[in-house]
Subunit: 455 residues, 2 copies
């Protein structure tokens, strides 16, 4: 018996060979445009990919065919049942004090207005909390308008606090007796592009029509009220509950050479909102994950020990629908135990600056994450504290104990584009996509190659 | 007889008193928000002001009432006959290779498509010059697409060369047999906001439906074609020729104390395109001109010698319609001779950096312009060479010999917003509006006070 290399026998080192391969992959990936090119194809040849639309179907076909073309070992899909919802006509006009058109969009699963629209005066609340203070039933015949603006931060931490108006404002407005809910878009830009997004409704419709104004339109209403006017508006929203539909999670695997049943999960969500072409949300994540696995397969001198499973999640935008179904099925069949570690890229196409690990990562594996971060240092990434779910679609897996990493992206501009018509390919910087590919390659290769357990 | 102060007796100096008043006005105006506040009121309480719409009517009423509230000595309007045109429904979709919605807008006086739209394949031309090379009648059943992008410069000099596709592309497309004309928006931004604008059609309709795509949508079509696809699109444009309508030029005067019949003309155009609220084009110019005259009236220790006539021009966007009518009437009644000098502010809300004079300015008056520029130096303005018409609405007056100045504004961002839904008040920097007020005050006060002739 030889003496153990480490004092704690359960600590398995990252071998020099593994590190050397990761370094060589990193230094090649930083000059590789494959993630950018995949994103270009998806956003150009498919476009928007909202569940229940021809675009979603085209996106799934594109994904299967692109994964095959990239030479993935296994390519398959899994059906997920859900309830569809699509937007139709949506117009809004100020009628008084002067006629003006506004730029708005319905929030996810918004109820329709009566045909031809509804006309009502605005009642202004500076925040969701202010609307909470209104007396129940006090807004009969009015439209509740919540005007606070999301704050912009690199890490997107302004999103959560602002988002309650989007997710639950419709219920609160209904409780107060309002005819409809109007919110300032949850976004950081100043363009006439409204930001859509999910409400807390899983199927059916919101309690009242729920609509987001572009930031300049919200400013306009606030200014009108500052002048002492009480704007009367006409809102015409026609939407449709599609009832039961089927979406898909799409899978591409690079089979592990030694432990093919153990999987490292990387991915992005394939669906997008309908207004843009889903470039930063989340074509970028889809492209980064696909390119990472393909790049490792094509460039590493050995096939990694474990399987890298790329999951292109379905219907994230309507409530992590694909991700929840995937996790539940793995919990039911016991294969959740084979999920070694995972991460989703779903915060745009900005460069990665930090690496965070979840509390599911064993203390004995923390040194591996530190090693990854060390190798990513040259790319501008540093090790960060804090817990993480590993991205929205990793939430259900994290809840089941799967270790997760967060490859933290600079999201300074993300909420300028998020869920708007402006989420298009031209906004993406190819240099940033190369950096993402290099960072993800270091993570995925080491995670799949290191023989120890992350749990 | 005393000896003349200057060798050339016809050179009349700018007195020290005049300069001192100009300096004192300048140094007060740089802290005055009245131009910004006037612009806020116009863009908020009125909004878009397209000829033949309720917004234009509201804008004219607003202008008359605001000029009166500001205490102008004379406030009046003059009717101008014109032919109206308004946009209705406008949608466009890519049908092949995949279904995608596009963001487009009809150009001024565009013809409608057949009801329900027209469906056709795109034929791509990289410029107007390339479309010229196509054989007549060769585009039967096709849509001509001109894809070149306007270049952005501080002085807006990229606008003219790109603009021929907008103004005359429809005729050329018709000559080549195309069903419709599709152009990349004449603009420098990357947002899903198309840029409308006039065609060379004075009344009636364009030869074929003429439509501008947002820049990201134009990029998308180009990329699809780079992939080898031939996009088939559906275009549905419904517009309406309103026939004869009446617009107005709106006037506000500060009557001169000594030479009330001699007028210094300053102004902006009151009309705007219908998509935004006409903040940078040209609410800013309207506000700067109104604020300048009112500021001089309220703050100069003497009422200027000559009359300052603020002209808020009507229907500039559809071909300088108000300006042409005004100049023709003054030519007909001989009062053109009383027009001492003039300028229009119609290049956004950016700061003034240069002062240019037209060739109509007499050599004996050049020293006055130099003096103005010298007093503006502290504000960041320098004297510039070159000729000028003094702004679009000054073209007809310049053609009749009226001396003109160009208060050159930094237009770096102007064509990001120009003629789009994004031309809204939030884009305007109050500091820049104060600088404009100070610069215009120096010009208008000296022009109205200096006793010599600019001709
Ligand atoms: Zn997302
Ligand atoms: Zn999203
Ligand atoms: Zn203009
Ligand atoms: Zn214009």
């Amino acid at each position: 018996m030889t003496a153990p290399t480490f004092a704690n026998e359960s600590i398995v080192p990252v071998s020099k060979e593994t590190k050397d391969i990761a370094i060589s992959l990193r230094d090649k990936a930083i000059n590789d445009d494959s993630a950018y090119e995949i994103l270009k194809s998806l956003t150009t040849e498919v476009g928007a990919r909202h569940p229940g639309t021809p675009g979603e179907k085209a996106g799934i076909e594109w994904a299967v065919s692109k994964l095959k073309a990239l030479g993935f070992d296994k390519v398959y899909t899994e059906d997920v049942e859900m309830n569809g919802w699509i937007r139709g006509l949506e117009t809004a006009e100020i009628l008084l004090p002067s006629y003006q058109k506004m730029v708005i969009t319905a929030l996810g699963r918004s109820k329709s207005t009566p045909e031809g629209g509804l006309e009502a005066e605005i009642v202004h609340f500076k925040s969701y909390a202010d609307l909470e203070k209104a007396a129940d039933g006090s807004l009969k015949g009015k439209i509740a308008f919540i005007s606070n603006r999301m704050q912009g931060f690199k890490d997107g931490s302004g999103y959560g606090p602002a988002n309650i108006a989007r997710s639950k404002g419709h219920e609160l407005a209904a409780q107060k007796g309002a005819e409809a809910l109007l919110i300032r878009s949850i976004g950081t830009d100043d363009h006439r592009n409204p930001h859509t997004g999910a409400t807390n409704v899983a199927m059916g419709y919101t309690a009242v029509p729920a609509v987001a104004l572009s930031n300049p339109d919200a400013d306009q209403l606030v200014r009108l009220m500052d002048y002492g006017h009480i704007p009367k508006i006409r809102l015409n929203i026609q939407t449709k509950d599609l009832g039961p539909i089927v979406t898909k999670n799409v899978f591409g695997e690079i089979t592990g050479r030694e432990l093919p049943n153990e999987v490292v999960v990387i991915g992005g969500h394939l669906d997008s909102w309908d207004l843009g072409t889903g470039a930063v949300d989340d074509g970028a994540g889809v492209a980064i994950a696909m390119a990472t696995a393909a790049f490792i397969k094509d460039n590493a001198i050995i096939r990694p020990r474990r399987t890298i499973r790329v999951i292109l999640w379905g219907a994230e935008e309507l409530g992590l629908i694909g991700a929840r179904a995937y996790a539940k099925a793995r919990q039911d069949d016991g294969s959740i135990a084979n999920h070694v570690i995972g991460s989703e890229s779903d915060f745009g196409a900005g460069p990665v600056y930090g690496l965070q690990s979840s509390s599911n990562v064993s203390p004995n594996a923390i040194h591996v994450i530190d090693t990854m971060a060390g190798l990513m240092g040259k790319l501008g990434v540093s090790r960060r504290s804090g817990n993480t779910t590993g991205g929205p679609d990793m939430i259900p897996l994290s809840a089941l104990g799967v270790p997760a990493l967060n490859l933290m992206q600079d999201g300074t501009d993300y909420f300028d584009l998020h869920h708007t018509p402006d989420d298009t390919f031209d906004k993406v910087n190819p240099e940033h996509m190369r950096q993402n590919l290099a960072v993800w390659t270091v993570f995925a290769f080491i995670a799949a190659e290191w023989p120890g357990s992350f749990k």
